[in-house]
Subunit: 454 residues, 2 copies
C-alpha cells in the first residue's frame, strides 16, 4: 500500500537525515519514485527538504519530482534556489506544470525564469499562461503529434522515432489539414497493425471528440471519463489543434473536485487544510460558521417571541433538539443527493420540479413515520400534570412539518443555485442547514401555540 | 457539453419513437456513441428501451453499449432476450464487464449463457468470477500482452498485428519468465522507437508497479493515480501475471468512491438513489435517520432532567438551537476534513494524537470567538428581569465547550473507526452529529445549573 510504503520511506529518510548518513541517503533518494518523494516532502521541514533535494542528481528525476510536488511546498523550496538551476529543471517538465508554477511566482521571477529557458519552451509556456488555469487551455499540454492526411503509417512511425521523441503520451496521433485544423484521429495501436503504406486518411476516425480551450476543466474531465479515452484534443475557436489533455491530469481533477465538493458542503473551505497551521485553519473555517451563528441568533428571537407558550409548557423546550436534528439530517440527505447528482450528471436542471416533488414526498413519509413514533414517546414520557396528548400531537406534527420542509429546501436550494450559476456545493452546506433550523423551530412553536391554546 | 448533448439526443429519440419514425430512428441510434446511448436509456421506459435496442444492428456497438449501461437497467433489458443473442454480444464485451453482469443474474441463467460462449471466453470469465467484485481481481481484464525476455522489438510488433489484435489497450507490454511471472514492462511507445532487433530484456523496466489480485479496488485506483500510469499489472500470490487494470476503470472507481463517501457522510445510503422510486428511496433513507431520532430522544430526557433550571430561566431554551448548531457545524467540518484526508491519503492514522489536538485547539479558538460574540448578544437581548450577565456568561461558555467538544469528537471518531477497520465515512455522519447534539445540550444545561445557582 502506498501509504505504508511512503511512511517507510519517510521514516528511513528522517533517520538518515538525523544521522547525517549522506551516502546512504543519496542512494535511497535517487531510487525513490518522484511521486513518493513528493508525498514524503509534506512531512519534512523546509531545511530537511532542502537537504534531500540537494542530494538528487538526475535532472529528469528532479523535473518529475517538481511536477508531483504540491505547489505550495514547491514555491517555498525554490525561493532561494539559483534561477539557472530552476530553469534547467523547468526545461524538462511538462509545459502545463511549468505554466502553473510560474503563475504562482512574482511577475519578475517568472520573467527571469522564462528568459533563461530555450526560446521554444518559453514561448509554449507563455502560450499556456494566456488561458485560465481551470479551463481546457490551462490544463492541456502542447505536446502532441499532428500529421497530414496523406502521411503513411510507415512515415508516422518514423516520425515517432525522430521528431516526436519528446511527446509524453503518444497513444493518439492527430490528423490536421493545411491550416492545422483537426480532421481525424488514429491510435498508435492502429498504426502498428496496418500495412506500412496505408495513408492516415484511410484509417483515421473523423468523429473524434474534441474540446475548446475555454471549456471548464470539470467538463473536460467528464468527457474523458464518459468516452473512456486516454487524451482529448483541445482546439481553439477556429478548430485549430493547440494541445491535448491527458487522462492522468483528468484523474487529478476528478479527485480534487470531489474533495472540493465534500469540503464545501461541510462548510470547511475549498482545500484540504490539514497541512496548514492552527491559526490559518481557524481563519479559513471562521467565516463558514457565521451563517449558522446568525441562524442561531434568529432562532433565539423566534423562540423568545413564543415565550408565553414556552413558559406554560416547559416541556416544549425538551423537544427542540430532536425536531432540529431530524430536519437537519433529512435536509443534508436531500441536498447531498442533489449536489452529487448534479456533479455526476445523473440529475438534470430541467428535472427541478420532479426532483423537489419527490424529495418532498419522501420527507413527508419519513416525517410521518418518525413523527408518529416521537408523538407516542412524548405522550408517554411527559409528566401527567402537562397536557400529554396535545404535546404528543404537537411534537408529532412538528416533526412531520420540519422533515417535509427540510427535504424540500434541501433539494430546491442547490438546484436553484445551480440554475443561477452559483456552485451548488458551496452554497448548500451552511445555507441549507441554517434555513432548515430556523424554519423547523418556527413551525414547531407555531403549531404548539395554535394547538395548546385549544 | 455531454449533458446538453444527451438531452438533445434523448429528446430526438423520444420524438421519433412517438412518431414511429423507424428509418430515421435507426440512423440516429446507430450513429450515437454507446456511452451517450447508455445515458439516454436512464430516461426511457422499458418498452422504449426495447424498441431502441431492436434497432441497433452492429454487435460491436451493442457490446460497447452493454458495457456502458447501468447494470440495473441492463439486467431488466435482457430479461426477455433470447440467450443466443445475449451470448453473441457478451463475446464482444471485455471479460470483466461480462463477469460483473453474470454475477447479477441467477446461477442457471449465467450458466446457460456461459455454455453458449466459446470455451476460451467462458473460461476467462469463470476465472474472473472467482474474485471479489471490489478487488483488483474483480476489476481486471485478462487481456494483456505477455512476452518473453528474448523477444525482439520486431517480433513484438508482429505479435500486435496477429495474436494480440483483441487486446483492448496495449500501451504496455509485459515481460514474463517461463512460469508466467512478471519480470518487466515496456511501453508500446518505447517499442516503436528502438531498433527492430533490440531484445525486450535490454529495454524493459524491472521495477514496474504491480498489484495482487486481492487488493481492494480503492487501493488499486490510488496506485494508478499516484504513479500516473495507464494500466497496472495484476499478479497472483506467485507473482504470476493474470490481468491488468486499466485507467478508464480506475476513473470510474474514483468517481464512485467519492460519491459513496459523500452519501455515507450525509447518511443518505451508499448509491445515488435519485433514479429509484419514492418508496424505495424512503426505505433506504429510513434507517440512517434512526440514530438522530434516538439522539433527539436522549436530548429530551437530558433537558427534562434539568427542568427546574429551565423553568426558572425560560430564556435558556431559546439558546438551544445556536448551541447545537455551532457544535454540529464545526463537528461536520472536522469529521469531513479527517474522512477526506484519510481517503486521499493526506492524513495518516499514526497522526491521530496530533490531528485531534489540532482540531481541539481550532474548536476552542472558534468557540472562543463565537462564544464571546453570543455572550454579548445574550446579555443585550434578554429582558431585564432575568439575570442577563449570568445568562450571557452561561451561553458564551456553553458555545466554547460545545465547539471544543464537537471538534474533538468530529476528528477522533473517524480516526478511531478507521483504525478498527470500520469505514470512517459511513460511521461518521449520523454518529458524530448525534453524539455532538447530546454532548452540547448536556454541557449547556450543566453549566447553566452551576452558574445560575450562584
Amino acid at each position: 500500500m502506498p501509504v505504508d510504503r511512503t511512511r517507510l520511506v519517510l521514516d528511513t529518510i528522517k533517520r538518515l537525515l538525523r544521522r547525517g548518513a549522506t551516502v546512504h541517503l543519496h542512494k535511497i533518494i535517487n531510487k525513490t519514485h518522484a511521486a513518493d518523494l513528493a508525498v514524503v516532502f509534506r512531512f519534512l521541514t523546509l531545511r530537511e527538504q532542502e537537504a534531500v533535494f540537494d542530494l538528487m542528481d538526475n535532472v529528469e528525476h528532479e523535473a518529475m519530482f517538481f511536477s508531483e510536488l504540491e505547489e505550495e511546498i514547491l514555491v517555498k523550496l525554490i525561493e532561494d534556489m539559483p534561477a539557472e538551476k530552476i530553469a534547467e529543471i523547468l526545461e524538462q517538465m511538462p509545459n502545463d506544470d511549468v505554466a502553473d508554477l510560474l503563475g504562482k511566482l512574482s511577475d519578475d521571477r517568472a520573467k527571469a525564469l522564462l528568459d533563461l529557458m530555450t526560446k521554444e519552451e518559453s514561448e509554449e509556456v507563455e502560450g499556456l499562461l494566456r488561458y485560465d488555469e481551470q479551463t481546457a487551455g490551462g490544463i492541456m499540454v502542447p505536446d502532441f503529434i499532428a500529421l497530414k492526411e496523406d502521411t503513411t503509417a510507415r512515415e508516422a512511425i518514423n516520425g515517432l522515432q525522430k521528431e516526436y521523441v519528446d511527446v509524453e503520451m503518444p497513444f493518439y496521433l492527430y490528423v490536421v489539414d493545411d491550416h492545422g485544423r483537426l480532421v481525424g484521429v488514429i491510435s498508435l495501436r492502429q498504426l502498428v497493425v496496418v500495412p506500412p503504406e496505408t495513408t492516415l486518411k484511410s484509417i483515421m476516425a473523423t468523429d473524434a471528440v474534441s474540446v475548446q480551450t475555454n471549456m471548464d476543466q470539470e467538463e473536460v474531465a467528464r468527457i474523458v471519463a464518459h468516452y473512456n479515452i486516454l487524451a482529448v484534443p483541445v482546439v481553439d475557436e477556429n478548430n485549430k489543434l493547440v494541445g491535448i489533455v491527458t487522462v492522468d491530469d483528468v484523474i487529478d481533477i476528478i479527485r480534487e473536485e470531489a474533495t472540493e465538493d465534500i469540503l464545501k458542503m461541510a462548510g470547511a473551505g475549498e482545500d484540504l487544510v490539514e497541512s496548514q497551521s492552527v491559526l490559518k485553519s481557524t481563519r479559513i473555517r471562521l467565516p463558514w460558521l457565521l451563517a449558522s451563528w446568525i441562524g442561531g441568533v434568529i432562532a433565539f428571537f423566534i423562540i423568545g417571541h413564543f415565550e408565553s407558550s414556552l413558559s406554560k409548557f416547559i416541556y416544549l423546550a425538551a423537544f427542540i433538539p430532536v425536531i432540529m436534528g431530524m430536519g437537519g439530517n433529512i435536509g443534508t440527505q436531500s441536498s447531498t443527493i442533489v449536489v452529487r447528482g448534479l456533479a455526476t450528471g445523473r440529475l438534470n436542471l430541467k428535472q427541478i420540479r420532479e426532483v423537489v416533488l419527490k424529495e418532498l414526498t419522501i420527507g413527508f413519509l419519513l416525517g410521518f413515520f418518525y413523527g408518529i413514533l416521537l408523538g407516542f414517546v412524548a405522550h408517554a414520557a411527559i409528566p401527567t400534570e402537562q397536557p400529554a396528548l396535545l404535546l404528543g400531537l404537537t411534537v408529532g406534527l412538528a416533526v412531520i412539518s420540519s422533515m417535509t420542509i427540510a427535504a424540500m429546501v434541501g433539494s430546491l436550494v442547490p438546484m436553484v443555485f445551480a440554475r443561477i450559476n452559483i456552485d451548488p456545493a458551496v452554497a448548500t452546506g451552511p445555507f441549507v442547514t441554517t434555513s432548515i433550523d430556523i424554519l423547523s423551530v418556527f413551525f414547531y412553536f407555531q403549531i404548539a401555540t395554535v394547538l395548546l391554546r385549544l
